[in-house]
Symmetry: C2
């Protein structure tokens, strides 16, 4: 049994949770058990488990053990709302770094979001947004590759995806459903966004549709909580409870 760092232990446990080896509600190995198995001290295992708990992937019950978190209950709004974050208006210099653009096959989750078959070719674009030199958000975007062949020829560091879809491929986005969730940064996110592991982030996930109701894009944006807040103005007559 070789030695592990706490980051490797996080990695290993996360994977076993994500691939279903541990199901929601399952008990994870105890701290003492894992520390013996891995040949590290209990505090090192605890540091790893702390991260899973803070990240919402696990929860502890004193005297009982540590368990895999259960899926979220979903809450819906009952009226159309619009929501936009615009950072460009406040005079901050902004830039975009293209981290990755490739064709991938739709897995089950992506296929479900986009209403396509599993295995269908998707275009995957991964970018980092900077404002005044600081990384501010990490963005993931997926859409059917058939919609926009050779999109890699366009300048994805200075043009927006939506603008390219509209002007180069004549695809009109009509509406988007957006979901906002508070999360904490994992190792990759913390490195890319220059924040500590477990720092608060806003996860904005989104499915965009054309006028015919076809899903065009699935997107996930992670905003730094220490640099961003989201603002909206709500007319009362569309509210019904407070």
């Amino acid at each position: 049994m070789e030695k592990h760092t706490y980051l490797q232990i996080i990695e290993a446990l996360s994977e076993q949770i994500e691939n279903g080896h541990y199901q929601p509600g399952d008990r994870l190995p105890s701290e003492r058990e894992l520390s013996q198995q891995l040949g590290v001290s209990r505090m090192t295992v605890r540091q790893a488990m702390n991260s899973l708990v803070t990240r919402g992937m696990a929860y502890r019950q004193q005297g009982l053990g540590t368990f895999v978190a259960k899926p979220k209950v979903e809450h819906h709004v009952d009226l159309l709302t619009s929501f936009q974050v615009s950072m460009e208006r406040i005079g901050l210099k902004h830039s975009t770094k293209l981290l990755s653009i490739e064709q991938i096959r739709a897995n089950k989750k992506l296929a479900g979001k986009l209403g396509v078959n599993i295995g269908q070719l998707l275009c995957y674009i991964h970018r980092l947004r900077m404002h005044n030199g600081d990384p501010i958000s990490l963005e993931y975007s997926y859409f059917p590759a058939s919609l926009c062949p050779h999109i890699e020829q366009f300048d994805l560091e200075h043009r927006s995806i939506y603008e390219i879809l509209e002007n180069e491929y004549e695809i009109q986005i009509d509406v988007a459903d957006q979901f906002f969730e508070p999360v904490v940064a994992n190792e990759y996110e913390s490195e890319m966004l220059s924040v500590p592991i477990n720092a608060p982030l806003m996860l904005v996930s989104r499915v965009s549709y054309d006028v015919d109701g076809n899903a065009i894009e699935f997107g996930k944006d992670l905003y730094r909580g220490d640099k961003t807040r989201f603002v909206s103005r709500s007319p009362r007559h569309e509210r019904n409870e407070r």
Copy 2:
């Protein structure tokens, strides 16, 4: 120098940051320095400082020290949007617990939000929302006491504040500006919401106005990140960048 637990150290440092003893950008005492001063081990000080860092109140720079976090940059949207979380529609049993109702004097922050003088009497209502037996959000609400004398006579566990203002005091809320920020739970919040310290929460803060533009209410709601997500539908024609 008496002994301290890590929670007491968090408390002490938070207070010194909040009352301005340490200014944004200031270096906090080093971990070794504090552990000597307080007569605890360095790991205990680290556990406290970890919490400040995760909570966004401080940041670390290896080789340099731990520093008080700098204030957030604000980002604004440029169009009216509406936004509502409605949990009642999905068939969960909900209830409200009134934790506190009292008259307080406006401090500088509250006076600024509500456009009143420092020291003016405010009504303060603090409630906990439950859904299916689980605590789901912790709510704070402040408004000028003169608007609604003897509001404590009404049933604040079964009626909404807005509804009472409208029907009992003939005060009409016209619009509300709302701010959404991902944060992590502190000790009090974690206890009230039954989540671990540093669990992700959605902070929704709000100022509501009547038709004449007078500020009526300042509110702060903290939603459990593991139980809630916020949804909106955005028409593309009101978007301008992606």
